[in-house]
Amino acid sequence: MAGNRKSQSAAIRFGPALKAAFLCLLIAGSAIGYVWQKNEIYRLSQQIRQAELRLKQMTDSNEKLRVKLADLRSPLMLDQRARELNLGLAPAQPMQVWRLPEPSAAPPENHALARQLAARQAGAPLTQ
């Protein structure tokens, strides 16, 4: 026996509509997400490209500055400048050089520290 359609509840009639709306939202959301993702990929790839260009520029600039520095540090250049400026620079004579003996490789005995350690072992506080 067929039932009376008028007696069906409103909730049952909204079910397919909700499903359809959900499906539409899902499809629309996916489409928007896809476009957003593509847009992000494009934006990020542009950023990568810009960053790579910037890195290249900085590397190139660094290279040029290194050459400039090497020019300025060149013995020939320094020699010429020293002559031009007429500063009266001359190599130090051996008599003008004071030589200090090299410190020994082994650390010198620290008697004070040894005493303090001994005192601590005996129960006294360690002081600096």
Binding site: L44, L76, P94, M95, W98, L100
Partner: protein, 624 residues
């Protein structure tokens, strides 16, 4: 109605066929065309490594530059205007640029016609970034004398393409030597290797001569590549990048050369060159304990930034490539051998025949004014008696003499990592190939030939307690971040003479710079010097010249704790028959040695200096 239906069906069938034709039947062909239009494989050139001195100063480096190219297919008939715009910026005559802007068809090695020149013409290499920016600006502002707003879209597009894409630049690198000619023959100079990749010429720097050549593979690095897609304006679409393999940059080579010592040596050699006008002058500074080469120079030299301007002989590193008769410096080897074999001692007296000695029917002579009678072995070295040295050689006998020559490294390559090193093997012959006169002639440094490097290493062996070291030119290889990839250590070749013999030799060689010796002008104020002079006649047209000499001084200091060994050699100075090693090379040695000692802060050992400073070099208590 039926007819219309049939027509619509036929149209759909036609479209369907076209679809199948494009998407199925011609899929592979068209897919490849589409890929070729957008996909690019880009070679990523590695950066060539630097060459640094022992203290990290740049001796050779690579800087980024551009190679400016044109696409003739985009220029139409505007070649004259483009050439006019580019000529002043590229500093080239218009007439040179103009023909390059026409599309050309050429043939490859197989005789096939290729059309690459329709799209690619190289205009100039090594263009700076600043110049390239000016070129871009000039191209973008070009006017062609037509009102482009009234032109059709395709014509407007043509002018836009001409401005934006007809002239383009490829990244490249240029070798730069910030110190100019400093150590030019040691470093070498760059050349360009060309090869084709996908029909396009690719150039890469390769070394010519010196370290640039011998360590070319380490300096070169390995190219990378990138497979990517580009848009219609050839801009990369990073999102569609497929493969991206970064290039592996070349390694930096750190030499044992010290730029400051190299400059000291070269400036002193240049002064001597000016004063004595020799054909050439060479100098080497080594550390005898390790075999490290601190400086190596040969004048005339060249600027590696412009090697084409130099004559070919200036490119040659005479220190390793030229052989010469060593003259009296060879006596150090004869006397070392004889002392080591206990054939003589320093105090043995040898009669020097009053300056004239016949051996094998041929007269041997001492220097013009020398008529020595009895001399001790030490005095033979001090006064450089040829007859005395010959008699010592005769006592030593040929097999032993030859043995010591080879043990000191003569007649064999030293193993320095430089190209074109001569071994002088043909000039250090075994005794069975000697003439009857050779045994007397060789000990005085005639009838035998060596390279300058072999000789300084041999004298360095005496300074090093009798141990011959391999010359060391490369300290380490490192990457761009300074991480050491390979470290080289000093290498001992062999013990040549005993430590005692070496000490005796040093004692004898100290007398050479005394007032009675042959090189008082090589004496230093604050250091005890040991050394030996050499004055060898040059062979001209097969006979010994009477007015052309190769003169030498090889010495080391402080004699009792040798830090530095220096060799100075002049080839045919203007003084001619009056040129002597002690007189001309001795002062050059002294000047180089004084400046090196000051730069390296070597403690003095001269008794006079020690006395003057109260034996005080110095203690903390004395500072107070």
């Amino acid at each position: 109605m039926l007819a219309l239906t049939l027509m619509v069906c036929a149209a759909f069938a036609g479209l369907g066929y076209r679809l199948v034709d494009l998407q199925v039947l011609r899929h592979d062909e068209l897919a490849k065309l589409a890929q070729d239009n957008t996909q690019r494989e880009i070679r990523q050139a590695p950066r060539r490594g630097d060459i640094l001195d022992a203290r990290g100063n740049l001796l050779a480096t690579s800087v980024p530059v551009k190679t400016v190219c044109a696409d003739p297919s985009l220029i139409g008939n505007q070649q004259a205007l483009v050439a006019q715009a580019l000529a002043p910026l590229l500093q080239m005559p218009e007439g040179e640029i103009y023909p390059k802007l026409f599309p050309r068809v050429s043939k490859n090695e197989k005789g096939e016609t290729v059309t690459n020149n329709l799209h690619y013409a190289r205009l100039k290499k090594n263009v700076s970034e600043e110049t390239w920016q000016k070129i871009q600006l000039a191209m973008s502002r070009m006017s062609f004398g037509v009102d482009e707003t009234k032109l059709a879209k395709t014509n407007r597009q043509f002018f836009n393409n001409l401005r934006q894409s007809a002239v383009f630049a490829e990244p490249d690198q240029m070798r730069v030597y910030p110190n100019g000619s400093l150590a030019a023959q040691v470093i070498g100079f760059p050349g360009v290797e060309e090869f084709k990749l996908d029909g396009r010429p690719i150039s890469q720097i390769s070394g010519h001569g010196g370290v640039e050549l011998s360590l070319n593979s380490s300096l070169s690095g390995v190219a990378g590549w990138r497979v990517t897609a580009t848009d219609s304006k050839q801009r990369e679409l990073v999102a569609l990048r497929d493969e991206d393999v970064q290039p592996r940059d070349g390694l930096n080579v750190v030499l044992t050369i010290d730029a400051a010592i190299q400059h000291i040596l070269e400036s002193e050699l240049a002064d001597a060159m000016k004063e004595h006008d020799p054909v050439s002058i060479t100098g080497i500074v080594t550390r005898p304990r390790t075999g490290e080469i601190l400086a190596m120079a040969s004048l005339p030299d060249f600027d590696p930034n412009n090697p084409g301007a130099a004559p070919p002989e200036a490119l040659r590193n005479r220190v390793i490539s030229d052989v010469m008769e060593p003259g009296s410096t060879f006596k150090t080897i004869v006397v070392s051998g004889a002392l080591n074999e206990h054939v003589v001692s320093l105090n043995d007296v040898i009669f020097c025949e009053n300056g004239l000695f016949y051996y094998g029917g041929i007269p041997l002579q001492d220097a013009e004014h020398d008529h020595f009678g009895n001399l001790t072995v030490e005095q033979i070295l001090e006064k450089s008696s040829n007859i005395g040295a010959s008699k010592i050689g005769i006592k030593l006998q040929a097999p032993k003499l030859y043995d010591y020559m080879t043990r000191f490294g003569l007649g064999a390559q030293t193993g320095i990592p430089l190209p074109d090193e001569s071994s002088a093997q043909n000039f250090v012959r075994p005794p069975d190939k000697w003439g009857k006169y050779s045994l007397a002639q060789i000990p005085m440094g005639q009838g035998v030939a060596v390279t300058r490097l072999q000789m300084v290493m041999a004298v360095g062996a005496i300074a090093n307690g009798g141990v011959l070291m391999r010359p060391m030119l490369v300290k380490r290889l490192q990457d761009r971040d300074g991480k050491v990839v390979q470290q080289y250590e000093p290498q001992t070749v062999r013990r040549v003479i005993s430590d005692e013999t070496a000490k005796e030799m040093v004692k004898a060689l100290k007398t050479v710079v005394s007032d009675e010796g042959t090189a008082p002008l090589a004496r230093m104020a604050n250091y005890v010097v040991a050394g030996k002079t050499g004055t060898a006649q040059k062979v001209v047209n097969g006979t010994y010249s009477k007015d052309k000499f190769v003169i030498t001084f090889i010495g080391f200091f402080p004699a009792n704790d040798p830090q530095i060994c220096i060799s100075i050699v002049m080839d045919a100075p203007k003084e001619g028959g009056h040129a002597f090693g002690g007189a001309l090379c001795g002062p050059v040695f002294k000047d180089v040695a004084d400046r090196c000692a000051s730069y390296l802060n070597i403690p003095p050992d001269s008794p006079a200096t020690l006395m003057a400073s109260g034996g005080a070099h110095s203690t903390p208590t004395q500072l107070q």
